[in-house]
Amino acid sequence: MITTKSVGKKRRRTLEAGIVIGLILFLLFIAPLLLTDFRLGLLGRFLALAIVALGVDLIWGYTGLLSLGQGIFFALGGYAFAMHLQLNLAGDGIPEFFGLYGVSELPWFWQPFYSLPVTLIAIVVLPGIVAGLLGYLVFRNRIRGVYFSILTQAMLVVFFNFFNGQQKLINGTNGLTTDTTLLFGQQVGSDRMQFVFYVATVIVLALTYGLCRWLTRGRFGRLLIAIRDDENRLRFSGYNPAMFKVLVFAVAGGIAGAAGALYTVQSSGITPQYMSVAFSIEMVIWVAVGGRATLGGAVLGALVVNWAQALLSEQFPEVWLFFQGALFLLVVTVLPKGIVGWFRDDAVRQIRDLLGIQPQLNTYPDLELDPDVKREQRELAGK
């Protein structure tokens, strides 16, 4: 029995790897042929959003931490990359916008972003550290549930107001533009660079998927689920859930940072609006629509919701917000497990019911073999 089970597990894993590789190849080689440059650009941005959705799924779907402040880490990654690109453009001088506010000397925290390797590391590590620190303070004090959600949203507002108000440091509400800047001597907004970023996004998405899959399978993943189910019980088994939550929150922060950087360069720049309350809540909605605690669901949810948004707002610009609200209501009431969760658990049965096919009942096998039960079944059949 154990052997058949492990064979089944292996087969499932191979199947999953096959699907993921197939999708990567499709996105890299076939999608560019099918889509216009404009549509491909959209897809690239949505794939970047799918990366942040994976992080949200990791902390919310698996660990039960409903963070409404992922926008902080998303924007930190974006700002880090945009600062490097601005410095690239400025060359020996300082970025143009500083002139508007009479700043003649580069603020100290811009200095490290001259270097590309440092920037690339900072894109992931900086939001990761910020998330880890915030998480440590919150989780050590055993703040959980709704209080955690409210607190993350409050932190989001604090960060938003700070970035929005500091013209002399990071250009305040105008944000930093990237499409006119240079990377490797090429303009970031050019079609060629945009395609490079598209490819990079697909690769980072695949790597993030692999990382999340590695974290959520095995004992660590089961521990995350145990934290979601009954965190206090875990303490009496000898685990300190606070440290596990800090780690996973920091990882999700790093993932959001990478996503933010990739989204920024494909969206011609970053503004503090990336830290708006609505945007962070939307990230949660993507995961809910796709299916909590299913990694595929997080990616699917981000793509479906954003693609629907793009199409609908082209056709009926004013309708989108109503549609998004309705979509969320629909998911909560009709598909509480999200699209993937429904497909996995209920789809087969419900479709069978619709078609009127009698389902095969799954009772206890040992009950079926019980002589008394067999006799009763015969009697019932006789009547």
Binding site: L215, R219, A226, D230, R233, F236, G238, Y239
Partner: protein
């Protein structure tokens, strides 16, 4: 002398001035199976909360294997070797029984070790064996949410064992189980006690009788008494707090009846029929319906079987009015038939113990006589 695994010294826990535990002192040897009983609100669960670090003591010390436990967090105490099973089964419903056990079995509970180290073969084997012991091997890979209540209780006991603690704290393991399951749980606990120290908190007296060797009774946050099941059951204080609250009439009324009956029993050589008549008459004092009278009669009989002397019963009377009532009732009982020597001296002793003024005694006696003769006519 055997090593002490748990020593609790002068422990007090107060919540906003309410003392859930009050100067509690308790100790337990290594390898012992101890059952803790006590009425609701006696502080049993708080007692476990303090040991496991969920609640910090207001005053006093808890030592486990000689190490102080105060100031340590729950997971730290669990790693020292104290495992706890909760009153209602607390298992991880979205994991399978096998995964539940594997989580607890993990020997290194650091974040990084949990992440990077694969589950060792030895642990897998332990989990396999445990699944068989708790009878869940055929449901090992179904979500634990699908288990029945009894199976969940067993799984949680299994999780406790997987943790391989030195001291197991088990809170009401048979709540909501069938008789058969209760019996099997008892056997499981007894076999666990061979290699662990175990503290069981329980309400179910039948079950306590099955497993108990040493029993500690908690009452209002302190240890009331300790001993074997028989000793504890015959301890008058235990009967008072336990049975006293479970009789069909108020404890005060029961006390009056017991004093009167004890007095009447002083004679010592009643016929069974005669005893019955007295009990019958006494039980009619406080119960109207025939059924209630019958219950009261058996309760009274059980209490009398403990042979608690008047010297201990009388001081429990609270008010002068109660003392007067006790006198009247006793006088009525012995006055119903010919008073013999033994009865007379017992009555005399009662009057002395009651310590009522002489004129009150004679007033009450005559009043009772008049009332009694009226009743007879």
């Amino acid at each position: 002398m055997a090593n002490k695994i748990l020593e609790i010294d002068d422990l007090t826990v107060s919540f906003d001035g309410f003392k859930a535990l009050n100067n509690l002192t308790f100790s337990m040897n290594e390898g012992e199976l101890r059952v803790i009983i006590g009425p609701n609100g006696a502080g049993k669960t708080t007692f476990l909360d303090v040991i496991t670090g969920k609640v910090q003591p207001t005053q006093g010390k808890v030592r486990f294997k000689g190490k102080k436990l105060s100031g340590r967090s729950e997971h730290d105490i669990a790693r020292l070797g104290i495992g706890r099973k909760f009153q209602t089964p607390r298992i991880y419903l979205n994991l399978t029984p096998r995964e539940n056990l594997e989580l607890c079995c993990n020997q290194n509970k650091n974040v990084l070790a949990t992440l990077f180290k694969p589950t060792p073969k030895a642990e897998r084997r332990t989990v396999g064996g445990l699944l068989e012991t708790i009878g869940l091997d055929h449901k090992a890979d179904k979500p634990a949410a699908l288990l029945s209540h009894g199976e969940k209780q067993w799984l949680e006991i299994g999780m406790l064992v997987a943790q391989s603690p030195d001291l197991l704290l088990v809170d009401e393991p048979v709540a909501g189980l069938t008789d058969d399951e209760t019996e099997r749980t008892g056997q499981l606990l007894i076999s666990l006690a061979e290699s662990h120290s175990v503290i069981v908190i329980e309400h179910d007296m039948e079950f306590v009788r099955q497993i108990a060797r040493q029993v500690t009774v908690l009452h209002e946050g302190s240890v009331l008494c300790e001993g074997t099941m028989d000793q504890v059951q015959n301890d008058p204080r235990v009967i008072e707090v336990y049975l006293g609250t479970e009789t069909s009439i108020t404890p005060e009324q029961m006390l009056l009846l017991r004093i009167a009956a004890t007095m009447a029993w002083a004679d010592g050589d009643f016929e069974a029929a005669e005893q019955d008549i007295i009990l019958e008459r006494l039980s009619r004092q406080f119960a109207q319906a025939t059924d209630d009278q019958a219950t009261l009669k058996t309760e009274l009989k059980d209490l009398l079987a403990k042979k608690i002397p008047l010297e201990e019963l009388v001081p429990q009377l609270q008010t002068p009015a109660q003392r007067e009532q006790a006198l009247m009732l006793s006088y009525e009982v012995i006055g119903a038939n010919q008073i013999n020597q033994a009865e007379a001296s017992a009555y005399h002793k009662l009057v002395t113990l009651l310590d009522l003024p002489a004129e009150t005694v004679s007033r009450l006696e005559s009043a009772t006589m008049a009332h009694g003769s009226n009743g007879a006519s």
